[in-house]
């Protein structure tokens, strides 16, 4: 029976506990906005990883979900004065809807074709945001109020905001974990491994892929909506293809198809951005080098390599 060995189970739980402990204690030492940014991107990368790591679909347009949810949540909070949890939910819903529409177009193709099509769709969405009146174009939607959670807790307080982001992140992370280890996740893996075979066993593969795509879009949306509240801003770069590239990098660096990889990757990239900000464009060079090194020498990513060494799925 595929009962994971005691060690394997232990390892994953331990790693998870470590991660939770880290995010619970870190704000005592580290600038919390920075940590919130890490969590938002980590969730975004987890969502992306759900597609590439577990369905074998490389979306090169995932920023569109981050972006659309950011705008939707910002609009809801700023113009409609919705409470933050509702604003985030609205963002998630919009991302899921966009996921449904773009998924219907994209999932019929595979591999690089899928990547190109998602990229182009995202670009279409990007130009829409650039021109749509409610996004503020290049200026972005600024001065988004963080509001009061459930009308009660004022998120302008850094601690409260942190708690909220932490909760969203954990919920998203656990959902990804559950999806991967669900009957549905099993079918996804089978489809990734051999699509014609899955069809011949009676699976309508497009529907499974579509659901996975929508779930991933929704989770990316949760990240985008939360991020908009943290920074009180929804702006174009979140929907730009460079962001789509960045999430690929985070996931690749952390480890494709590992659960913790995207979190580690997101942390590393955000940290790099922060600490190397004074190097300006060299950040770009360093990112490029990381890409190249990962692809050429390090394909499993940080967490993937560690997992391989310890023989523990992470």
């Amino acid at each position: 029976m595929p009962q994971p060995t005691f060690l394997a189970r232990h390892g994953q739980a331990l790693a998870f506990a470590l991660m939770v402990a880290f995010f619970a204690l870190a704000p005592l030492f580290v600038y919390p906005v920075y940590l919130m940014k890490v969590m938002c991107f980590a969730l975004f990368a987890c969502a992306f990883n759900l597609l590439i790591g577990f369905c074998g679909l490389l979306s090169f347009g995932h920023a569109m979900f981050l972006g659309v949810a950011g705008y939707a949540a910002a609009h809801a909070a700023k113009v409609w004065a919705l409470t933050p949890e509702l604003a985030v939910l609205f963002g998630v819903a919009c991302a899921a809807l966009l996921g449904l529409v773009s998924g219907l177009l994209a999932i019929r193709r595979q591999g690089i074709y899928f990547a190109m099509i998602t990229l182009a769709l995202a670009q279409m969405v990007y130009f829409f945001f650039l021109q749509a009146p409610f996004t503020g174009g290049e200026n972005g939607l600024q001065a988004v109020p963080r509001g009061r959670l459930f009308g009660l807790v004022d998120l302008a307080r850094p601690g409260a905001m942190y708690g909220f982001v932490f909760a969203v992140f954990l919920a998203g992370f656990l959902l990804v974990w559950r999806i991967v280890h669900s009957p549905f996740g099993q079918v996804l893996k089978a489809i990734r491994e051999n699509e014609p075979r899955a069809i011949s066993l009676g699976y309508e593969v497009d529907r499974y892929k579509l659901l996975a795509f929508v779930l991933s879009a929704a989770l990316a949306g949760a990240a985008g909506a939360t991020k908009a509240l943290v920074f009180q801003l929804a702006a174009l770069p979140d929907a730009h293809w460079a962001m789509s590239g960045e999430v690929v990098l985070m996931t690749l660096l952390g480890g494709l198809g590992t659960l913790l990889g995207p979190v580690v990757g997101a942390g590393a990239i955000v940290m790099m951005h922060n600490h190397l900000a004074h190097l300006d464009s060299w950040v770009m060079v360093i990112q490029g080098v990381i890409f190249a090194v990962c692809v050429l020498a390090f394909r499993r990513g940080v967490v993937g390599e560690v997992a391989q060494r310890l023989r523990v799925p992470l």
Binding site: M116, I117, M284, G288, V295, R299
Partner: protein, 294 residues
């Protein structure tokens, strides 16, 4: 004279400008299609190679006093040679793994090149003069057409046709495609596949650089000049049918014109029209307009 309530001057003017943009789309998508069709690599570094070409022209002029015409020869050769080195040292190791990895690698390489130029020259463009022989222009009645832009259209058509004939009308094309599918076997037939792949990638990169030199006098020379353009070109390639050279060329010019038309009739959509068309094409013909194979 008005056509559909639009002054003909505006209509023809925008169409001609569209054709100029289309020349760049066609040249760039041709290079991408060559690399994709034969190596199955989505060359994300294409935009950077285009920019690199333009910068070589710029540097040749400012550091060595070498002008446009030599740049038109030297820049593609240099970038092509560098491309060949990259293929030999890095890309060649990825043929065995999922193609997505080579996409990511070229993405990373593009970042490196861009980052270097960005930190050296900043993100704003540097002007590059038109070659003296092509200064001036001609009044077409509906617009004044600078000679340089005429040259751009003419030369890129010529390059596209030549490249297409070379690859599709000779056995080279078939050999390249086969090598892409099963390089070891083609090699076992006595063909030096590694060298062929290296040269192909070099040629694709060289084409990008050629486009870059041609763009320098029009669009200025800047580290980010390739970034946005290349995404449009990806869409062009998808519309033309990935890997189809003819499709890429025709889609390149066609989309330039389509953009021009949109600018006349519904300017707000000019940025998006390529992507909208792409979505429509995928819906109707998932393999693109000319993508018969696969």
């Amino acid at each position: 004279m008005d056509i559909f309530g639009i002054p003909s001057q505006a209509l023809f003017g925008q169409l001609l400008i569209g054709l100029i943009n289309g020349s760049f789309y066609a040249l760039l998508s041709l290079g991408l299609a060559i690399i994709f069709g034969l190596l199955r690599i989505i060359n994300f570094a294409h935009g950077a190679q285009y920019m690199f070409g333009a910068f070589i022209a710029y540097l040749l002029l400012h550091k060595a006093g070498v002008g446009y015409w030599w740049a038109l020869l030297l820049a593609p050769l240099t970038v092509g040679a560098l491309g060949a080195v990259v293929e030999r040292l890095m890309l060649s190791r990825l043929y065995r793994v999922d193609h997505l990895y080579s996409l990511m690698l070229t993405f990373g390489l593009g970042l490196i090149v861009q980052g270097v130029f960005l930190s050296e020259y900043g993100s704003s463009g540097q002007p590059y003069p038109m070659p003296a022989q092509l200064s001036g222009g001609r009044n077409l009645g509906f617009m004044f057409m600078p000679y340089y832009r005429v040259w751009v259209i003419g030369f890129s058509v010529a390059v596209c046709v030549a490249a297409w004939l070379l690859i599709e009308r000779t056995r080279l094309g078939g050999t390249l495609r086969a090598a892409n599918e099963n390089p070891t076997l083609v090699q076992a037939f006595g063909i030096n596949v590694p060298r062929m792949l290296t040269l192909t990638y070099g040629a694709g990169a060289g084409l990008a650089a050629l486009a870059g030199v041609m763009a320098a006098p029009i669009y200025q020379v800047g580290a980010l000049m390739g970034t946005e353009l290349i995404i449009v070109v990806f869409a062009v390639v998808v519309i033309g049918g990935m890997g189809s050279l003819l499709g890429s060329i025709l889609a390149g010019f066609g989309l330039g014109l389509a953009e021009g038309l949109t600018k006349v009739f519904y300017p707000e959509a000019a940025n998006t029209v390529v992507f909208v068309l792409m979505a429509l094409v995928i819906l109707a013909k998932p393999n693109g307009l000319f993508g018969a194979r696969n």
